[in-house]
Subunit: 287 residues, 6 copies
């Protein structure tokens, strides 16, 4: 698969070399794929299972990243978290002059067509396929049931986000991979051209970078820059403990909300909370 | 019920005689109702249970029918297919000069009022009630729970599509008939007049003909001209087998998506697929 | 032209016979065209030049017609009133089975095609072309500049309302005929079929009857049933006088709005107003 | 808690005194809270469990209240009715000149901040929190999971309606309290100021009065003036019986819908229905 | 007129006493009306004629007021600036229980009805009528042509902003007063009740305070707190001079945009600009 | 200016080298700029003054380019054609990790900031600035009045298209350069980063290539690939003559629209038209 990267890369309009992608994601503290894409380790995915979109928010804007959330999707399996590494794909409206060049290049490399499957063929376990189809409904369908199934297999159920459509909702609904899309439509993908793979893409108000950690829950989707992943997860631990303690206090029924939340006003309660936090953090971190 | 047709027909603004409807649906290969409406046989309904909107698409545009799909509905029971024969009804904004004529005619025929129930009273088993209420939300409510129940009984759970609203979502949700609507609202139907029964009506971007086979799944609704029904279903059999084979191959984990889909590139695989298709088709067709 | 009516009529899906149209517009106090369409006399058009949409409203709902106004149009020449008789045309999404029948019939009658020009060819002086293209933007363009010019010539600048698009806004802008449309788009009309001429059509929330008096100003468009035309115009005279008097009083600067409007509270002022109304009405009516 | 009312009230921009609220709700036949808010008795909440939005509609417009329904919400738990007393809260876009005055006042009363929690702290069992956040999505989030939990505890699962957003849908989804909102967003509430508690507020096209009985089902939300509550519930009993009888008749399969609905046409059936109604009403009322 | 204030005030639901309004606008450096409303002096209106929305923006957010702009209006006379003092009015959806109390009170004070004209009757020269009709289109029409004319006379062409509709666009278009509205519709105002006069109201994302200086141009409308008016105008003088100088430099054709704008990079040019600014400011200020 | 190209190019995320741009626009029959951008000659701009969007449509789809039209803009000067060469610019939502790299690079090259002015500084006479700001309203304002003025000077009034906003509509309205935008807003551009100059960008449903001939009229905007420019203009000559002849015939008042349009049915008329076309074409071409 790795060898495929340089071969394929030449067919798209926009390309980042491994060096360029490394430069733009210079703060990434983790390993990288051969194409320069950051590789957030699997262990963080496991920790993220208990997190919510909310908890990502409490870190990112404070670090200068207020634009990493995208909402207003149809969510395929609302009870299922989506966690993985962003594999980005960009389409633009078809122009035969430009697409003709892309198809010629692809043919020279032995590919039958330069289209959505050219990108799917590059997916790896843990990837989330992130597709800019500029909100297109009719003909903006990145996959139907067969290619959804392929994506599930290739990414080990990583997931799919498309600012566009999917087709065959009926068939896809039975497959156990999270997916976020704007519309459903029975037409296959058409009247577009594939202009970029693993380049920065726009999903709603977010610039998604290849290798961002993708986190989706019932509310929407967060794209977390790799260098902030650990920070976000550590903070989520604190929030969980804070929530536990807060609700226990509310259960007691003798406090007003502002006595306890966002932080206890009474010094004794504050001390109690801090002791609780310390103890519980130690328990969690020792796992 | 059959006798009712000519009696009722005279009250509406737009009418197709049995001869006219027969002319517009001249390619219908099946029997007809007394009013000329094609009667797609029940056996095709059974076969359609395994089909998806997707699979209808793969036939109709190629036959010159690109405009037969309507989406963007609220779907009452997303897990339940809707399959039946289109029974079409058209309403227009109320004008007392026109509606007065309709009410007079209806009274002459012994009916108490010329309104939504005039159409409901004509429903037959296997019908899907298809209603053009021009997207009206308030007062565009074709049925509440009682008349939904009547429709369920009269059509044997055929179904309901309304480009408008339903009321009493609470009550209707418990009834086991598929329904597609744009809105819910508590007002009863009002400020409209009933202008046509079993005439061509528009639902979104589709002209629906009386007697079209209606097929609804999670994605949306297809209106299939009777002469293409068998074609669509035969093709769906092929697609099912193609999907089976494709996913088995993907399960093997050694192919890229473009090796297998949309059709296998390797001649040996192609032969394997074709043998599989032949065998499975024979099995299915022999049932 | 008159002979064309029965010939053409047979090609459309929905038809009202002259008798049917006469029945639906039975209250029409004026002459009719050969096809049954009411012919509101020219003299009322002249009187309507001084009227506003507002003034139509003050009569119609009280007579049981609350649904005769349509707004939210792009208005070609906002300073120019549109006044004429509704000539209605209906399109629906294309289905080749139905359209094929229409084209066959048209050919049997020596027409080259059954399409938008089939309707335009029937226009008469004083007509306003009222077209239901169900809000279609791309391909929902009833005319471009040449056929707009033809319409201008054939109707003597009667006007055009389309719940759909026009094309060639650049060229049309220079032509001196009022027009109301939803969109502009460069595509020609396509993917639709002509299903009715001079039948009831829906424009927004209005059922328009052939022969309705059409009145358009900066605000939007009113469709006035012929039997209410004189009533509306007489009432507009009263409103104009009321407005004259009211503003003269406001000009005096010594009254609050509620002293004078909607009617003077002080008995002496009331008497003054009534005398003024009587005098001015007499002047106007004597013209 | 009661003591808190006069203390807090002074901090908001808009206030109704107990006397004013009593005047505006003069028809209230029930007890009141200390702040004048009508206190619809719990027994009516129990009866309302079997009701639907539909049935509220059949009484209110006829009593001159056509504007009491709000729809187009996202419904947290569609299978769960929301029933309680309206506790209203109003926010407006932030202006530091006005908000500064509010914060100063709040500080003088020993409160840390004048914001959403100032209102939450006043909630009582049986309340439904009704919040006007003018449809704000980003930063229009009345609660996250912790304060949702507090609201659940303080109101005994009364419920929440916000013309705005909630945050942390993931966490809130697991909590057993009905909620209606326009959007979800991960941002906390910001860029607004709290301008009123228990004053008339607007939710969609409804003016909600403090103490209205709130009724929510799958369809949307009704705000029932206290003096009409008993009327609505009594009428719902009749509708339930009517529905029972109507469906039994439809089950017999020998009637058209108009024979039976909305009321039986045949005198014998009419008598049968009336006897049934009388008997069943007696049974219900005797419980 | 002044005496009317306390008399009328009692009829509305929400009232600010003169003391309360003074408190909320405590930073106002100017005189006040008897009801406490700040009275920005006429001389600032004259200076504002040369200003644009743009220039207001360059001051307000920096002073902590980012929410003072409202856009997306239909603008009656795009070439005409609107400048005056906000006179605010609030409507809410009709409830007969509440409205009945208001009408009773009004009658006790000798008024015929408590409705839109109750507010219009209080207008003064230099006022801009600012109306919250919650975006209502049908029936949300604050004035027709007669009351628009009254407003023009009473305010000396101050202006009108309505988050709702006007009616009789045809008649109003000929009157020389600026106006901003969301829609036009022929229906008169209905199904609402007048709940506040000269209280804080919401227009789009702005909380408007009575006495704010209103500034409208082609782009939209700004509501400027009185204490920032002089600041805004002084700053606009600087911007005008900056624009003069910048364009003169661009006219020379030898600079790139970034050499000159937003401020000159070259020290010599910077000095030149500063000398120019000083000289021109002196000229302007000496007028 | 030419030297600036390679210097600046390095700062953006997406870059096409001169070779790549030449490859994608290989069919360009004209000269190129140093950066590879096609340079459609001025003489075609002059010919295009008489053209309409309509006439572009009649060529491009037939050549395989159905996606070159963008509509739904606010048009600054509807009576003024916009004609020039596309100079494309792309922005994406801000991410400090990516933008930091861009700013660093820019600083290394002696630029103060990498932002909208970096692109403006590269404009040349005859350019139309085409900006993808992904429809952003607040903060999506490519220019205010000063930079609009700069653009006018630098492009010799070429023009501006932005899928986003402009600010200072008041000031810009007085400047004599065509402009197409989605919104107006007083905020300056913010929360975005400049990711590409003279790369393919998306405007609505169009992929715009650097060097496309831009043509804007009242209706909307067309982006014409250079190799089709002459074809489009030659065809427009024919359409103009066809329009002249058609209208002369309509002026005669003796033909139905279908006798003459789209082409004359009668062989004699057809011959007349063809002679006319030949003569007039010769006249035009000899100029």
């Amino acid at each position: 698969m790795l060898l495929a990267v340089p071969l394929l890369a030449g067919a798209q309009v926009f390309t980042l070399t491994s060096e360029q992608l490394t430069e733009y994601t210079a703060k990434n503290p983790f390993e990288r794929f051969a194409d320069g894409r950051p590789k957030v380790p699997q262990k963080f995915f496991d920790r993220a299972q208990a997190m919510s979109a909310e908890e990502v928010w409490s870190v990112l804007p404070g670090k200068g990243f207020p634009n990493q959330y995208a909402g207003d999707f149809r969510v395929l399996h609302p009870g299922k978290k989506m966690i993985g590494r962003a594999f980005t794909v960009q389409f633009m409206p078809l122009r035969p002059d430009v697409d003709g060049v892309l198809q010629d290049r692809a043919k020279q490399k032995g590919m039958s067509r330069w289209a959505n499957q050219s990108a799917l063929d590059m997916l790896q376990p843990g990837d989330v396929l992130v597709v800019d189809l500029f909100g297109k409904e009719e003909g903006g369908t990145i996959v139907g049931d067969n290619l959804f199934y392929y994506t599930l297999k290739a990414t080990k159920a990583g997931g799919l986000i498309v600012d566009g459509s999917i087709r065959d909702l009926e068939g896809i609904s039975e497959m156990d991979m999270p997916a976020y899309f704007r519309h459903v439509h029975p037409t296959p993908i058409q009247n577009v051209m594939l202009t970029g793979i693993n380049i920065p893409v726009r999903i709603g108000g977010v610039t998604v970078m290849p290798g961002d950690m993708v986190f989706g829950d019932k509310e929407g989707v967060y794209f977390i820059p790799p260098h902030l992943v650990e920070n976000v997860l550590d903070n989520a631990d604190v929030i969980h403990i804070h929530d536990e303690w807060t609700r226990k206090k509310f259960d007691e029924g003798k406090y007003k909300s502002s006595d306890i939340y966002p932080s206890p006003r009474d010094p004794a309660l504050k001390a109690e909370y801090e002791a609780y936090l310390k103890k519980r953090l130690a328990e969690i971190r020792s796992k």
